[in-house]
């Protein structure tokens, strides 16, 4: 299946050329002899399961890691390994998977860091930078104030800013490590536009994604990694979607979305007149046993804020949340956990995982009382319980004691999800549950979500992934500006024009209720 292009290598100097790259962590090989190159003016998708080695390869190509053996050349010049400065000077820019923005600095400062604009007197020209930043943000349809502090922004916006940062530096080789994991369809479309125009300017682009549509929309060519080996390198036109998936997971995937069982009748989660922030409309709804409620909307619509208010990470202005008949104390996660409420936050690195702790300890935290007696942690009990759950999540790690910062992004997500499942959960709040998760694991997570819901759990799922909302939910809300602006029942979700109605609601172009658009 692997057809390696070598024919025109003699005529064009490749922008990026990797040959025989191997790398191992603590004696465990992660990359096993990767050879490929990027031609100018091409877009290459790097596909592979979680932990296949995609990020590691990109880090090597951008000089962050020193490979054990092998060579990287940028435009014919040897890239001194482990030297990010040299990579930058040679024109390599990267948008890392785990965003590396500076939270305390403002948006425009982040955008211009390292190449600040100066005026005639050599003093920082803030006005010019702010103006330019505004323009860049507009290209993505964002009207964020460039003087906002980075840390005040949702992950999706931060991700867009990282993309802008990398694409406006005049890079010749652009590496995008899951650039779309936190952004919605509209922003993805903008990114596609930008990638195309950069390609036409001769930039060589390598990107990773777990979404097939994005590979189809952006790439000319697909390189597939499996377990650190390059298993396929073909022009996009020569390979089918199924072909890519099969190359990635080494077997055929039967069905991405499982059957949706019927919802029950008893109310589990009740949200009553919850006002997320001053000025927002109150939100009221109930979720029944076994019901999956989808939350759709654009980046910044308030889905995350709604879930945070329900769980107690954020204090609502007013309103109450009730789980199985007990009203929760606002702003107190511990009381929510005690009522069997669980959350998988959107911002994995900031709010989900403690990266400096092991898989075992991360998974212990929310259920710590169950794993201890008189405050002393039990050794075997928690190892067994957590081991079982992580196995059912098909976690790829080097044992339960591996630290989370050494896991691939998708596997971190599995830990952040799976850690709740060692105990009982009545209501589950999911915020982009498959962010950065590979297709095999995604079908796994969908299976788990539907199984949990059919076992009686009430689920609220915010997602920017349209198929996810459309296929899994029994009902969906569309949110805009911190308020719910529309509700779609199952029949409407099945309608062929549903994507259109959701988009119009989400972007505020539709004043009329959705009901009218159903056939």
């Amino acid at each position: 299946m692997s057809t390696v292009q070598t024919d025109d290598r003699t005529t064009v100097v490749p922008m990026l050329d990797c040959s025989g790259i191997t790398m191992s962590f603590g004696g465990i090989p992660v990359l096993k002899g990767i050879t490929f190159s990027l031609e100018p003016g091409t877009v290459t998708a790097l596909a592979g399961e979680n932990g296949a080695g995609k990020s590691t390869l990109m880090k090597i190509a951008s000089g962050q890691y020193r490979p054990d053996s092998g060579q990287v050349q940028v435009r014919g010049q040897h890239l001194p390994s482990g030297n990010t400065q040299a990579a930058y000077a040679l024109g390599v820019a990267i948008v890392p998977q785990e965003l590396a923005s500076i939270p305390e600095m403002m948006v425009y400062e982040n955008l211009f860091i390292g190449r600040e604009l100066k005026n005639r007197f050599g003093v920082l020209d803030r006005a010019a930078m702010i103006e330019a930043a505004k323009g860049y943000l507009k290209e993505f349809g964002l009207d964020t104030d460039p003087k906002t502090r980075m840390k005040a922004l949702p992950v999706g916006v931060r991700q867009i800013i990282e993309i802008i940062k990398a694409t406006h530096r005049g890079a010749r080789v652009l590496l995008l490590d899951e650039p779309t994991s936190a952004i919605a369809a509209r922003e993805v479309a903008r990114l596609v536009g930008i990638v195309r125009s950069l390609r036409d300017q001769g930039v060589a682009i390598l990107f990773t994604t777990h979404k097939m549509e994005e590979i189809r929309a952006m790439a000319d060519r697909v390189v597939v990694l499996r377990d650190g080996k390059l298993v396929s390198d073909t022009p996009l036109a020569d390979i089918t979607d199924d072909g890519i998936v099969t190359a990635m997971i080494g077997r055929e995937l039967d069905q991405l979305f499982p059957e949706r069982p019927d919802a029950g009748t008893d109310t589990v989660l009740e949200v009553d007149n919850l006002v997320i922030a001053a000025g927002a409309e109150p939100v009221s709804f109930t979720v029944k046993r076994g019901e999956i409620l989808g939350l759709a909307g654009l980046v910044g619509a308030g889905r995350t804020e709604l879930l945070e208010c329900i769980y107690g990470i954020r204090k609502p202005v007013s309103g109450t949340v009730t789980v199985s008949g007990t009203t929760l104390k606002p702003g107190a996660p511990l009381s929510s956990i005690a009522r069997n409420l669980a959350i998988v936050p959107e911002d994995r690195k900031g709010a989900g995982a403690v990266l400096s702790l092991s898989v075992l300890d991360n998974a212990t935290l929310p259920r710590i009382a169950a794993f201890s007696k008189f405050g002393i942690l039990s050794g075997r009990k928690r190892r067994e319980a957590i081991g079982t759950v992580m196995k059912s999540m098909r976690l790829k790690s080097n044992g339960l004691d591996q630290h989370l910062d050494h896991l691939s992004g998708g596997n971190q997500q599995k830990v952040v999800f799976g850690r709740w499942l060692t105990g009982e959960v009545d209501a589950l709040l999911l915020d982009e549950p498959t962010r950065g998760v590979d297709i095999g694991a995604r079908s796994e997570i969908y299976r788990i979500i539907t199984e949990l819901s059919s076992a009686g759990m009430a689920v609220v799922m915010a997602s920017s992934d349209m198929p996810e909302i459309l296929s899994l939910s029994h009902r969906a809300f569309v949110m805009r500006e911190l308020s719910v602006v529309g509700e779609l029942d199952r029949a409407q979700l099945d309608s062929p024009t549903v994507q259109d109605s959701i988009f119009r609601l989400a972007s505020g172009q539709n004043a009329a209720p959705v009901k009218d658009t159903t056939p």
């Binding site: 603590g26 004696g27 996660p333 403690v354 990266l355 400096s356 201890s372 080097n398 044992g399």
Partner: protein, 330 residues
């Protein structure tokens, strides 16, 4: 190769050489320590005698307590600059009690512990509840507690104390003095607490990522409060033992000790950003510093040069550790 979680023993997959070099890298501080011990033993005949080792332990004990408290604070991402002067204030409070309350060894002990607890609780409250940065809070307490120490003694040391005041430092248990026993017990207890209890895991969690820990149900304010309170109590005990050694309360006692305590923690591999570090690491760091102090004394190196050498060794040791951590993580 990655393995799906299972009981696949890691051993099978690594060869022995990897393990050996991995071990050396992970325990680089132990190696550094052994090298330093070897050097002093080679240069000074008196260094490797049981008597001298006892001396090192005795000198280490007061530092050990504050370094252990400091470890907890640093694990949460904070810092406690006040421990040196809290030692002084506690020692003065204990000495004043001994002088005025007669020959009861319990009362000065109580005075020292309460003083330390009070200072630590104030730190903890201000840091956790009012979210004032720990550096500022404890810097304030450093000045305040030092002032209190002088106030208690009216600007002078308190001497002429009853003989029982010397019992804290000089009582022998199994051939070891009380402070040394206390040091060993404290290290063992805290090592267990940090590794095997809910409390320990929570301390690591809020230091690693406070928001994520809170979402997982950790009440971070309570934990933050507690580490400063513990640090205060340990400083109180430490101050008492130091004063007891000379049966005098001196208001300038413990001055600058906080820096050695912080150095010990950092040499032990803790990150000042929080979330990383161990009690064992601190114990090694502490012994390293005390060994250097002792060895340089034996070699009759002049005091000012001792500081220069110590400074170089501290930075070099941490440099080696950082280098090893980089190698080890890949």
């Amino acid at each position: 190769m990655n393995t799906i979680i299972e009981a696949v023993p890691a051993l099978q997959r690594r060869d022995l050489k990897e393990i050996a070099s991995g071990f050396l890298i992970r325990h680089i501080m132990v190696v550094v320590m052994l090298l330093i011990v070897a050097f002093f033993a080679y240069r000074s005949a008196r260094f490797a005698t049981p008597d001298n080792l006892t001396n090192i332990l005795i000198a280490a004990a007061p530092f050990a307590l504050i370094a252990l408290g400091q470890t907890l604070v640093i694990l949460t991402g904070g810092i406690d600059l006040s421990v040196g002067s809290v030692m002084a204030a506690s020692a003065m409070a204990a000495a004043w009690t001994a002088k005025n309350a007669g020959d009861n060894p319990m009362l000065p002990l109580l005075a020292a512990v309460v003083t330390g607890l009070l200072a630590g609780s104030i730190n903890g409250l201000i840091v956790s509840k009012f979210e004032v940065p720990p550096f500022i809070t404890t810097l304030g307490m450093l000045t305040l507690a030092s002032g209190i120490a002088y106030v208690i003694g009216n600007g002078a040391p308190i001497s002429g104390l009853p003989a029982s005041f010397g019992s804290y430092a000089n009582t022998q248990i199994l051939g070891l003095t009380l402070p040394v026993v206390l040091m060993i017990v404290a290290i063992l207890v805290l090592a267990f607490v940090m590794k095997r209890t809910n409390y320990g895991l929570r301390v690591y969690a809020i230091g690693g990522n406070r928001l994520a820990a809170e979402i997982a149900g950790v009440r971070s304010r309570n934990i933050l409060f507690s580490v400063y309170a513990i640090s205060g109590v340990l400083a109180g005990l430490s101050g008492l033992m130091l004063a007891s050694r000379v049966i005098t309360g001196a208001p300038n006692l413990g001055q600058g000790y906080e820096l050695d305590a912080i150095a010990a923690v950092v040499i032990g591999g803790a990150s000042l950003m929080g979330g990383r570090g161990t009690v064992w690491g601190t114990a090694i760091g502490l012994l390293l510093i005390q060994t250097i102090n002792n060895g340089l004394d034996l070699l009759l190196v002049p005091a000012y040069w001792q500081n220069v050498i110590k400074g170089v060794i501290i930075v070099a040791a941490v440099g080696v550790d950082v280098w090893a951590a980089r190698r080890g993580s890949r």
